[in-house]
């Protein structure tokens, strides 16, 4: 039965000036025809701005189509008297969990919808109970939403729509702002509702992994539906999807690469199990064939030239009271100069607290942070004890020679280092080694200068953008450093170039930019202060796959060209595996592991027990190992994995052939 039908939908966003004259008209939907069957689980994919959210709002009657018709259970959304019935039938869950919870107690929020449609009190209670039960939030019914995690808040929001007894729930990127645990929680809940209660689900998302179990996937691009079918049918078109800036699940991409190389792999493999089963048939079981494969990154790095050294760091809230709690406990680690370091841990593990210590926004209760920059001069306040630079203990003495020879540095691609040569930033970073360790908690240490040396970019660019145009905003930091207007402008232009923001945006208001562009401006705003270390807190949260890749490419380039030390705080194990040299794992404020991604992800079971996980490829390697196909080197990106498997397969085939020739030769003799 068709529950939702859209006929020739067109929707224009119209901007008018004060006199109601149309200034700009953007076509968000352009002739969309779609019908959705009752009880289906439908995913809508598309990059930011492809029209998927607009479609969602039209279904619920929040917006009315400019042309065409939307029918919900054969009721037209244009008919005002039907509008409330339509909204009752189609619940909506939005992206930001905070901005859709109205009441201050969970159960009262769930009851908000039924109250609005005039349900009698007793019935409201029944509905609230059932709805909370359905999303598994009964235990939290008396709690304040502010005390819930993101995933729990979204489940409350889902319960709020369930209490209206809807036929359909439209979820507009409900997991975009959540961590992996919260994401899994929400997806599990909606799958459950779909299965047990028969609610039709329309899930708009960026995460390809969430769509694998769907009944149907609709792909949108530029306001049109470009693909429509089962996951198998849609993910067959890897190339077409990439062309419209979309991703496919990693396993699918790997299978596609193998297939392209000529391996007997069927179309659109969606799960690891399928891939393992297929690889079992065409790869050798024994370890006779070591894949001939060179890893991009070293298996282990020794930290020879730390730029930051953290020792026994504690951060305690309300020390000495009954409420005493440790945000950080006895954390010690080093950050190698010029490396990319990943901080991972679930929400509340202390990652953000730790990064805020590194640039002095928070002060440790106990412990020492020492920094060793190439230019330490400004870090000591001039005054009585100004010569208090103290020598690091031990490892500092051999810093000078080791730095350039460390295996990691050797792999730097010399060829890209030219574009930015000669800029001030480049000079300041390339020239010289560290000049000695300074404890940032020394009395004469200049904390404000530290913030310029260790730049911190927060998760949401919206928290820092405030100026009239992009360039002035980026100049804010340099001006705080005491630079002149001209100097600051030069720095800002240089930084904006570095993050790859086209100069046509420089005079625009930062609020008119897209999510990815805003993030670039935010990063430029910190880069313009010429930091030696750059900390990025979840830089890609909320971006679509293409935006994510673009931004990481830029960060990688920044690192390769300028040799900047980068600390990346992330939830995504795949990103960490792909981009970092060293990983620090935090759990409940305690540093649990440190090492190369290689060393960390080997211990994926421990990571899982902390509510984390490992990259998809790590899991695949283990699944293959279980069936007897071993890899000694551990590739951690899709293309490395593909190279590795293809190489193994080719050599295996060759040996099978030569064995056959041998065998036939012998027979002939």
């Amino acid at each position: 039965m068709k529950i939702i039908e859209a006929l020739n939908l067109v929707y224009n966003y119209i901007r008018t000036d004060e006199n109601d004259k149309v200034v700009e008209s953007t076509r968000a939907l352009d002739g969309v025809n779609v019908s959705i069957e009752s009880g289906d689980f439908v995913c809508v994919l598309g990059h930011n701005g492809s029209g998927k959210s607009t479609l969602a709002k039209l279904i619920n009657g929040l917006n009315l189509p400019s042309e065409g018709t939307v029918l919900v259970s054969s009721k037209d959304t244009r008919n005002e008297q039907d509008l409330w019935d339509i909204r009752k039938e189609t619940g909506m869950v939005f992206q930001n969990p905070d901005n859709q919870i109205i009441a201050s107690v969970v159960e009262e929020d769930v009851g908000f919808g039924p109250e609005n449609i005039g349900i009698p009190t007793e019935e409201i209670w029944n509905r609230v109970n059932t709805a909370l039960e359905a999303v598994g939030m009964t235990a939290y019914r008396k709690k304040s939403p502010n005390r819930l995690s993101g995933g729990q808040k979204q489940r409350v929001a889902i319960a709020g729509t369930m209490a209206m007894i809807p036929k359909t729930i439209v979820l507009d990127e409900p997991t975009a702002m959540l961590d992996p645990t919260g994401r899994a929680e929400v997806i599990r809940t909606i799958k459950e509702l779909n299965k047990t209660q028969g609610v039709t689900i329309i899930l708009i998302t960026h995460y390809m992994e969430e769509t694998v179990d769907a009944d149907r996937i609709i792909v949108m691009d530029q306001g049109k539906i470009v693909m429509d079918g089962t996951p198998k049918e849609v993910f067959k078109n890897v190339e077409e999807l990439k062309a419209i800036r979309m991703d496919v699940p990693e396993v699918t991409e790997l299978a596609w690469k193998l297939q392209k190389a000529g391996m007997p792999v069927p179309d659109s493999i969606l799960t690891r199990e399928e891939l393992v089963e297929c690889l079992q048939k065409c790869l050798p079981k024994q370890v006779d064939f070591e894949p001939n494969f060179v890893k991009r990154k070293p298996l282990h790095i020794d930290i020879t030239d730390p730029v930051i050294r953290v020792r026994h760091l504690d951060h305690v809230y309300q020390k000495g009271t009954a409420m005493e709690s440790y945000a950080l406990k006895d954390v010690s680690f080093d950050v190698q100069r010029g490396s990319i370091v990943g901080f991972i841990g679930h929400t509340g593990s202390g990652k953000s607290t730790l990064t805020q210590h590194l640039n002095g926004l928070l002060k440790a209760t106990e412990g020492v942070i020492e920094v060793n920059f190439r230019d330490n001069a400004d870090l000591i306040k001039t005054g009585k004890n100004s010569k208090n630079v103290y020598k690091g203990s031990g490892s500092n003495s051999n810093v000078k020679n080791n730095h350039k020879n460390s295996g990691y540095e050797g792999e730097k691609d010399g060829a890209n280092a030219d574009t930015l040569k000669g800029t001030a930033l480049n000079d300041s970073i390339e020239s010289g080694q560290g000049t000695g360790f300074i404890n940032i908690y020394d009395t004469n240490f200049n904390m404000k200068q530290l913030r310029f040396k260790i730049g911190l970019v927060f998760q949401y660019p919206e928290y820092q953008l405030f100026e009239v145009d992009v360039i002035t905003d980026v100049m804010f930091g340099p001006k705080n450093q005491g630079l002149s207007e001209d100097e600051a402008r030069k720095r800002a232009e240089e930084a904006l170039k570095m993050v790859g923001l086209d100069s046509k945006f420089w005079k625009k208001s930062p609020f008119e930019l897209s999510g990815g562009q805003k993030r670039r401006v935010a990063i430029a705003g910190v880069l313009a202060m010429h930091p030696e270390v750059l900390i990025l807190d979840e830089p890609t949260a909320g971006l679509d796959p293409a935006g994510r890749d673009d931004l990481f490419k830029q960060i990688r380039e920044l690192h390769d060209k300028v040799g900047m030390t980068i600390i990346l705080v992330s939830h995504s194990m795949d990103d960490v595996a792909r981009y970092t040299d060293q990983v620090i794992v935090l759990d409940h404020g305690v540093l649990k592991m440190t090492g190369t991604p290689e060393e960390i992800f080997k211990r994926y079971q421990e990571l899982e027990s902390m509510g984390l996980g490992a990259p998809q490829m790590t899991y695949l390697i283990h699944d293959l190992k279980d069936v007897g196909i071993r890899f000694e080197d551990r590739p951690d990106t899709v293309s490395e994995m593909a190279d590795c498997i293809i190489d193994l397969w080719k050599r295996y085939n060759k040996s099978v052939k030569s064995n056959k020739i041998d065998a036939s030769g012998k027979e002939a003799n």
């Binding site: 619920n60 929040l62 909506m92 201050s104 009190t121 805020q356 405030f466 804010f476 705080n480």
Partner: protein, 268 residues
Amino acid sequence: MIREITLGQYYPVDSVIHRLDPRVKLLGTLVFLVALFVVDSWTMYGVAAVVLGILIKLSNVPLKFMTKGLKNILILLLISVSFNLFLTPGEPIFQLGILKISKEGLTIALKMGIRLILLVMGSSLMTLTTTPNQLTDGMEKGLRAFKKIGVPVHEISMMMSIALRFIPILIEETDKIMKAQQARGADFESGNIIQRAKAMVPILVPLFIGAFRRANDLAMAMEARCYRGGEGRTKMKPLKYEARDGIAYFLMFLYFAGAVGSRFVPLV
């Protein structure tokens, strides 16, 4: 620091006070406050303190939670107390240069201090034991009479409850924005008053833009859940007086009568 503001926050435990009808609590708070300004004797302050103590005990809200709210008005308290202390003319009992403390000043300052503390704790007891929704429901129903003369009672109470819900969120957001700007070298602590006011711009702009975005999202979420004003709405937790509310009204009346009566009885 900034996150520890407890005013207007609900403390979720179960107690007699929590279960009282919000209208009772609203009127009760009003009566308690008015009575504080009616009485003017140490005995009655003692009585008020004891009554408040019993109510806090009954509410199961830890005393520590209540006193935390006091910290925020500490400065206000100190200023008003010291104004009264030093500027009240009368019989001097202590003098240091131009600073002079009179006996009357001391009495007034102490009374003022006690009044303020009781006042803040009394009203925070109400907000700590009443969810914003109940509170606004109470107002909506309690002030129903005003609707007839065109006061949009439902809308006002809805606005209040949403404001209360978003206060902690916006406070946290302010904290994050401040840190993000500090990370770019912004300085909120030094400089004269004009420089400091200017330093607020990088905080206020993102905060306001964020608030507008939230308001927009929230309006859409409410509409999607069929909100269309107060007409035709039912209540999940309709206000119904129970026996305990009657008792509470009675006790309230006694207390107020006692407070007024105490004016006519010579007490210390």
